[in-house]
């Protein structure tokens, strides 16, 4: 199994690692039994992802997809962030080995979970918007 240079780069130097104090939305997906947990924090201003941070327990691909996903939604509108697919994350990383595709799915789900949490805090039912 070989990772692309981009995956190795995002693993070696992950972008946006950490937490956001008083985050507007926090999403956590995965579980420790399977060996992957992603926790995503977002700060929302004017319907835009003003800041995003993550913490991940998982393999190289889990860390790299978290890092890339945060880069892809930073500064984007919430609607755009919700459009982000695991496929787009994978493409941005120049691909993932087949056994690691689920990591990119987790990254997509982490963003959706954080946005759902944001809507809940706003008193909006996220079901309708996020799905």
């Amino acid at each position: 199994m070989v990772y692309s240079e981009k995956v190795i780069d995002h693993f070696a130097n992950p972008r946006n690692v950490g937490e956001i104090e008083n985050a507007d939305g926090i999403g956590e997906v995965g579980n420790s039994k399977c060996g992957d947990i992603m926790k995503m924090y977002i700060k929302v201003e004017d319907n835009t992802i003003a800041d995003v941070k993550f913490k991940t327990f998982g393999c190289g691909a889990a860390i790299a997809t978290s890092s890339m996903a945060t880069e892809l939604i930073k500064g984007k509108t919430i609607d755009d962030a919700l459009q982000l697919t695991n496929k787009a994350v994978m493409e941005a990383l120049d691909g993932l080995p087949p056994v690691k595709v689920h990591c990119s799915v987790l990254a997509e789900e982490a963003i959706k979970a954080a946005v759902s949490d944001y809507y809940k805090k706003q008193g909006v039912d996220p079901e309708v918007i996020v799905g």
């Binding site: 693993f11 399977c34 913490k55 327990f57 998982g58």
Partner: protein
């Protein structure tokens, strides 16, 4: 950057001494040992000599009890399927093995289960050791074979093989051991230790890949696995890997030469490193510390995942391995770590280091400095570690 190879249980670097002995059989003496002309005869002679010497080094009574194969997996497959199928004709269809065998044994047993054989998988307990009394208790009238590995490939625990062998001999049950990891680190004597079949491979002891052997005690019923030509006394077809066999013999000879002293030095490096790394909070050594290969360190660090740890170690010049799901290519972490009772989330954070005679004191210093840094780095970005610490605070 200093490069430290610490994955010698995966494979080893070919020894220059071994290579030198092999080279003539890759160049001048290329003849087929089955051929009648001189260049074939020379190859045959070398093959016979190697067989003779290997038999002596394993404590076998006869050279013709050594059968050369392509390596450990083939030897395990042949031993288990070969004996199982031969014994089935005598109405014996029960096999005893342990929960943490190499997949070459476990998957072979699973395949036999589908054919109708019944398999008992022995517990290995928290220390990673099979209890001989469990073997005795599991033996039945219809038991065809007991197969227990000599030393575990992940956690390095050395099994009580002479005791298990004795029990099997007394009860008249055929006993196979996979000694792929033990050979060269443990004094093996198939006669004294009552071993009926033994698998071994060259590439774990600085020999070449693709060559191994199966020791089959005279009189043990075993069916052929590889059909074809009359090589290996008609029991294992295929033109002999002459250079490989020469390499296997040379590697075993080299490993046994000065083994006790090498083991002593390696054990002290191993123990020093384990003690050093145990200072990391929420870390643990997997498997018994005493009945253990001198070159094996296997530890878990809570809150992190093994593959990330390996990648970060690699960035620091250290080659290691892990039993995490991500490195095993499945969703579950290593069956060995689960067999010794580790919960999934802890088993995911495992690291195996395996040394060789080339490993130095300085290498251990570097590893002892790098691992805690990497563990800390990964824990700082781990939500699982955050939860562990939160629960700790709650508990206080």
């Amino acid at each position: 950057m200093r490069e430290i190879y610490a994955d010698n249980s995966a494979t080893t670097k070919l020894s220059p001494v071994v290579l030198e002995k092999m080279l003539p059989y890759l160049t001048e003496v290329y003849g087929n040992p089955s051929s009648i002309y001189r260049i074939g005869g020379k190859a045959r002679e070398a093959l016979d000599q190697a067989r003779e010497n290997i038999a002596k080094n394993l404590g076998a009574q006869r050279a013709n009890e050594i059968y050369f194969t392509s390596g450990g997996s083939e030897s395990d497959n042949w031993a288990i399927k070969g004996v199982a199928h031969a014994m089935k004709k005598k109405g014996k269809t029960h096999i005893i093995t342990s929960k943490f065998e190499h997949h070459a044994v476990l998957h072979t047993c699973e395949a036999l289960e589908k054919e109708g054989f019944e398999i008992t998988y022995l517990d290995v307990y928290e220390n990673g050791l099979v209890k001989p009394e469990d073997v005795a208790a599991a033996i039945r009238e219809d038991t065809a074979l007991v197969s227990v590995m000599y030393a575990n490939n992940e956690i390095g625990t050395i099994q009580p093989i002479p005791e298990i062998g004795k029990i099997c001999r007394e009860r008249g049950v055929i006993f196979h051991t996979d000694a792929v990891q033990a050979a060269g680190y443990v004094r093996i004597n198939v006669e004294e230790q009552h071993i009926d079949l033994l698998s071994m491979t060259a590439h774990k002891l600085h020999g070449p890949k693709g060559c191994g052997l199966l020791y089959v005690r005279r009189g043990v019923p075993i069916e052929t696995l590889i059909h074809g030509g009359a090589q290996e006394r008609g029991r294992r077809a295929g033109t002999e890997n002459v250079a490989g066999v020469i390499g296997l013999d040379a590697a075993l000879e080299l490993a046994l030469d000065g083994m006790e002293e090498r083991n002593k030095r390696l054990s002290s490096l191993r123990d020093r490193l384990m003690d050093e790394l145990l200072k990391i909070e929420r870390s643990r050594v997997n498997g018994d510390r005493v009945h253990r290969l001198p070159n094996n360190v296997n530890m878990c660090f809570e809150g992190i995942e093994g593959e990330s740890l390996l990648l970060r170690l690699d960035m620091n010049g250290i080659s290691a391995s892990s039993g995490s799901a991500c490195t095993s290519g499945s969703l579950d972490p290593s069956h060995v770590l689960l067999a010794i009772g580790l919960p999934h989330e802890i088993a995911h954070g495992s690291m195996r280091l395996s040394f060789s005679e080339e490993t130095t004191d300085e290498d251990i210093d570097v590893i002892a400095a790098v691992v805690p840094e990497v563990v800390q780095y990964l824990r700082n970005m781990s939500p699982l570690w955050e939860d562990i610490k939160k629960n700790e605070r709650k508990g206080q």
